[in-house]
Amino acid sequence: MEKMSRVTTALGSSALTGRTMHCHLDAPANAISVCRDAAQVVVAGRSIFKIFAIEEEQFVEKLNLRVGRKPSLNLSCADVVWHQMDENLLATAATNGVVVTWNLGRPSRNKQDQLFTEHKRTVNKVCFHPTEAHVLLSGSQDGFMKCFDLRRKDSVSTFSGQSESVRDVQFSIRDYFTFASTFENGNVQLWDIRRPDRCERMFTAHNGPVFCCDWHPEDRGWLATGGRDKMVKVWDMTTHRAKEMHCVQTIASVARVKWRPECRHHLATCSMMVDHNIYVWDVRRPFVPAAMFEEHRDVTTGIAWRHPHDPSFLLSGSKDSTLCQHLFRDASQPVERANPEGLCYGLFGDLAFAAKESLVAAESGRKPYTGDRRHPIFFKRKLDPAEPFSGLASSALSVFEIEPGGGSMSWFVDTAERYALTGRPLAELCDHNAKVARELGRNQVAQTWTMLRIIYCSPGLVPSANLNHSVGKGSSCGLPLMNSFNLKDMASGLGSETRLDRSKGDTRSDTVLLDSSATLITNEDNEETEGSDVPTDYLLGDVEGEEDELYPLDPEHVHPEEPEYVLPQEAFPLRHEIVDTPSGPEHLQDKADSPHVSGSEADAASLAPVDSSFSLLSISHALYDSRLPPDFFSVLVCDMLHFYAEQGDVQMAVSVLIVLGERVRKDIDEQTQEHWYTSYIDLLQRFRLWNVSNQVVKLSTSQAVSCLNQASTTLHVNCSHCKRPMSSRGWVCDRCHRCASMCAVCHHVVKGLFVWCQGCSHGGHLQHIMKWLEGSSHCPAGCGHLCEYS
């Protein structure tokens, strides 16, 4: 509470000062009322009835009105009201049905003045006439309202609501004779005090009990009512029919409602259940409270503005046995904390954005305003300082749709759909996928596929002449590698024949090919380590020498610089992994030292996992002594897969994993593989690529993933003849011993996609049924059913 501010308000002669503060009461409060001098407050409850002086820093107990030895039910107060004209006059409503008046001017300790025992049940509310000193009104649970003249011993008149209990009675400020009463059945009645026989007007204000009402202090035709339906409604009573002007939705049933002084549209509410807070609402913004007081720990039972012309002090009593003074300035303002914006990234890169209109408008309007002084100042609307209101808050909602191409996710869908993952030789898969990637403008990925092909496929599939040729040619046009791969792809169809025709004599050029692919990867090592790795240098030099030897024809050929210039851009991301792998140069060194041994070892190893379709090629492999084994690269390839995964391209990681299969699988953590698979499958499902997703599930070797396809899929089928559920597995019905999967159109057994109507169990080939349904909506089996396919 230390941070709370202090407010001094000058109100004519008197000045109100104070801060947010509270004091402990001995017992829960039921109601409070303020003296007209705004310096004292009375608190009443079942076992409390005290008057406190409101001082600057604290509440000071001034008087305890519960006197006498034996507790009387007359002192168990449901309501209390302080007369707004006579500082000494109070009235309480007792839970036993008694209305008591108190005269503080009495010299004795007991200030009790008069006792009216006319109500049969609890009196819910008492109310003094605003201008008439001796008129008191009460409303009771027994359904009656009574008007007392304090100069007489009993009531002047009795008003029967002709319905359930009266919850509140309130004299109108505008009409001398009028008062409003609210009822448990949801009705509000308007009475003329001179005509007790029937009410002037009645209307249903709420669903369920109307707990409270309050006449507007200035706008005299306005009546605010609050009900158990969690609503506060503001009615214009000046018209012939009560007209609902505003409706505020609160979060709990409304127990009390009080218009805020000097603020035409503000009212304070508190609830009798669940919610302990006091809210101040601007009725024009009916959904969000303008202010919220959160001090109480139990239900707030009574609220009162301290002074009829001061909007900043609110007093409240609560079941938590505290009396509080709240400063409007210290209230928390849910509006201020509420998030004014919503933002969501869509699947394809679309952005949905909702923002408070003033934020968006301010953005566009700010600049001309500051720069341009021609705007006359008097155009500015004068704001009422007590009640700033900038119109209803609203948000602008827009979706930023991404145009195809720039950053949209369409590449993902295309890639997923077009990639070939299985069913063809590895080289073809790599080539195909490289081609797909390149067509989608993803050069880095395309290059990766090509390199994978070089690493893992038999050299025979890559006609060396093509590659070497393209390297030589490419160097002159500045993009040698890309070109080389393009050319190579075009020629890849020739691959196998070329290989078969090849003789041992080609070994040498194959070596070149292989080494150049090694160069492709290792030259970065080379350049980063600045020549510290002698063996690598040696190897490179060797290769270059050989190539130069083979192609000495090109005079513009500046070979040694060429890979250094091009590769950092083309193959840049690979740089990381290669740098990370210190084993590379060592391997090379071994290789250089004893090429024969390691080569044959590795080739032998590579024999095992290769598919049957490759076996022929692999055998011929073994002949090439100096070929680097695919195993040598597996560390690099694994690193590359990790790299793609970390970059958010799990598609590449999984695709390569599937295509390479056993070649790399063993080198990657099983858990990581599963993680990649599940992530990719999730992505595919997001894009509704069910077929691709299923294919990936099917091709995955991870146990947890491949069982996804089988888990929790149950098919319930009826026999199309006897229409009974098929019990056995398979497609032959137990009862009629006929195959159930007959096509109703062509009368053949359906193999493959079978579609059937869930209503009549008849169906058939997808194509046939689709065709049939174009012409007729009845079942093709002739059963008369109007088939429905979703």
Binding site: A361, F400, G407
Partner: protein
């Protein structure tokens, strides 16, 4: 690059949240007017409101979609201290109201005593779970034991954060190596500088959520928090919307190195921090691959952030909230100076390959 399509939302008060569904074809908005609206994308790309209903008796702060495997399910949370789960019932096909869907309240979660500020469904692999956080600083995790019965939710965990919570985010990683994890942001505005982002991790042994990390550097009120889609990464990326946009990476320290049984330790790095919004940042949202972050702030703009190959994040686009898109280049020039001050590496890396080569050399040594 972007085409703005303005939608007449017709909410009666502020819209606080927008949320796309799993497939990106539906959108839900929630507002202070206590209602939620569901929008469906037509073939032509227009968004049509197919449902609008009163969900709460207070401002609806957040709305979120469940995985479609559980049906068309939404969760909303509100100032009225409740969170609610809604399911769409599509009317009979011969119904006159064909196309108008009908949302039914399946449950109301009433455990909070204060405003429920965020609600999020857990990643699908965890089952049908829901986390809420409230202004009194408690994160509650509910589970529907029977995914077919959306009306039964049991409160599984209550995590006390000690600070008024404003936002939560589940770690979306589906890896078995990553224990369920939830990040909580606080908008507590008390002047003392307390860390406002806490990360809780599920401990298999104790079967409880325990605090794994606290982002000590974030001491200003946090308005939104979002884990990036994981997609097979070994580390986690977390975006925080506070007085600026911040991106953190959390790399799990190898299990062998930490004492077993305890919460995972993380190596936390702040990889980006941008104050280009010049004001409070209200929302952050990741694209599907976790490579682009969108943020929106009090300046009424959406800014897009993307990392280059050197892991330096930079602004790749600014979109004005009133629908006029701003294309990169010109705006980017303006934003660069402050960018450079935030990320010292960026300026040098922009100079081209020579700078990046230098970086690598350092790395090798």
């Amino acid at each position: 690059m972007f085409v703005a399509r303005s939608i007449a939302a017709d909410h009666k008060d502020l819209i606080h949240d927008v949320s796309f569904d799993f497939h990106g074809r539906r959108m839900a908005t929630c507002s202070s007017d206590q209602s939620v609206k569901v929008w469906d994308k037509s073939e032509s790309g227009d968004w049509h409101c197919t449902a609008s209903w009163k969900t709460h008796s207070g401002s609806v702060w957040r709305v979120t979609w469940a995985h479609p495997e559980f049906g068309q399910v939404l969760a909303s949370c509100s100032f009225d201290r409740t969170a609610a789960v809604w399911e769409e019932i599509v009317g009979e096909s011969n119904d006159k109201l064909r196309g108008q869907s009908h949302w039914v309240k399946r449950t109301t979660l009433v455990d909070s005593r204060t405003s429920v500020t965020d609600v999020k469904f857990a990643p699908k692999h965890m089952g049908l779970m829901l986390a809420t956080c409230s202004a009194d600083g408690i994160v509650r995790i509910y589970e529907a034991p029977d995914v077919m019965n959306l009306s039964q939710w049991s409160l599984q965990h209550e995590i006390s954060c000690k600070l008024s919570c404003s936002c939560i985010s589940w770690n979306p990683s589906s890896s078995r190596a990553h224990a369920p994890m939830i990040a909580v942001g606080s908008d507590d505005s008390s002047p003392n500088a307390v860390a406002k982002v806490q990360i809780f991790e599920y401990n298999e042994n104790t079967r409880k959520y325990a605090k794994a990390e606290t982002l000590l550097t974030v001491t200003d009120p946090v308005h939104d928090i979002a884990f990036a889609p994981n997609l097979g990464r070994s580390f986690h990326t977390l975006a925080v919307a506070t007085k600026d946009v911040r991106i953190f990476t959390l790399k799990p320290v190898r299990k062998e190195l930490t004492s077993s049984g305890g919460p995972t330790k993380f190596e936390i790095h702040i990889v980006a921090q941008f104050d280009n919004h010049n004001s409070q940042v209200w929302r952050v949202s990741w694209n599907i691959t976790g490579t682009v972050l969108a943020s929106s702030g009090d300046d009424g703009c959406v800014r897009l952030w993307k990392a280059n190959y050197m892991d330096n994040w930079k602004c790749t686009g600014i979109l004005k909230g009133n629908g006029s898109p701003v294309n990169g280049s010109s705006q980017q020039g303006n934003s660069n100076p402050s960018l450079g001050s935030n990320v010292p590496n960026l300026q040098s890396s922009l100079n081209g390959s020579s700078a990046s080569r230098f970086e690598i050399r350092e790395f090798v040594r």
